[in-house]
Symmetry: C2
Subunit: 147 residues, 2 copies
DNA sequence: TTCACTGCAAATCATTTGCAAGGCC
DNA sequence: GGCCTTGCAAATGATTTGCAGTGAA
């Protein structure tokens, strides 16, 4: 496990107190946080931290390929420091985002029609209900019927 | 090919002048338009049309499953009236969105870990450069070197 | 000194909301 | 009449921008 600071350097990003803190947060929390969530958590440790810096920083990280920016949420961008190949599942009820395995043999081959497209990144997003919310919904349906 | 009006009825949506026009636009234009683009085009035909109505309408359409709402663009939502299984490719240079074939044998099986998730919809987004932009970029790189 | 990084405040812009008016059954 | 749809205007809220201050090489 590499440190946040070293990870930044490895990705060609100059480390700073703020950048290290943000990268550290992303590496330690696999929660796909929004800018606001990162801000709320890190402000306690770095009271002077501004949202602008978080926006700037995350943009730099994403451009350098150190993190992924996710558009799975319609309202705001979310960020993922986990770079292994995987898909995402967003619960339409609790809005949590889960990592889901993306089998290595799932491929998106270019065909005759698309062979001249230069693909940079591919995202697989699932939307539905997580186990917890799915069972809640089922229970409330049962109640309605029994009532 | 079913008419826009019939398509709405088939999806349990009450037709109105505005709704038919918007659905017709989506069925005839496979350009994954934004609210603004739909507004700009339809306002010529229906001068009183408001953006609020377009927002309302597209929301209803998506909820009823008549169209797809795409979050491939970070800035704004895009809409797709084409419901066959397919993936999307967004060009990072010209911002156009292309439909790309998603082979029928590409599947996203739930495994032990995710078998209790209730999946509603899956999106596959590719980002990169379309053939036209890719060749432009290549040419400009060549120029730089030759200069 | 220079130049990149930070952060405040203001601006931007897609989307939502409140609400009044109109239309359809 | 009652309810759903429409659309204007205002509000909201995520993100961006302008710019001045700070700090590191």
């Amino acid at each position: 496990m590499v440190t946040a600071k070293q990870y930044l350097i490895d990705n060609g990003i100059k480390p700073s107190v703020q950048r290290i803190a943000i990268m550290k947060y992303l590496l330690e929390h696999r929660t796909h946080p929004t800018v606001d969530e990162i801000y709320a958590k890190l402000q306690k440790k770095i009271p002077t931290l501004s949202k602008t810096t978080i926006y700037n920083t995350l943009k730099v990280f994403a451009e350098k390929g150190a993190i992924l920016s996710l558009t799975i949420d319609e309202k705001m961008v979310r960020f993922d420091g986990y770079k292994q190949r995987h898909a995402h599942f967003r619960c339409l009820s609790c809005d949590k985002i889960f990592d889901v395995v993306l089998d290595n043999d799932v491929e998106f081959p270019l065909n005759e029609e698309t062979k001249n497209f230069k693909n940079i990144e591919t995202h697989v997003y699932h939307r539905g209900y997580c186990p917890e919310c799915a069972s809640k919904i089922e229970n409330s349906l049962t109640e309605e019927i029994t009532e």
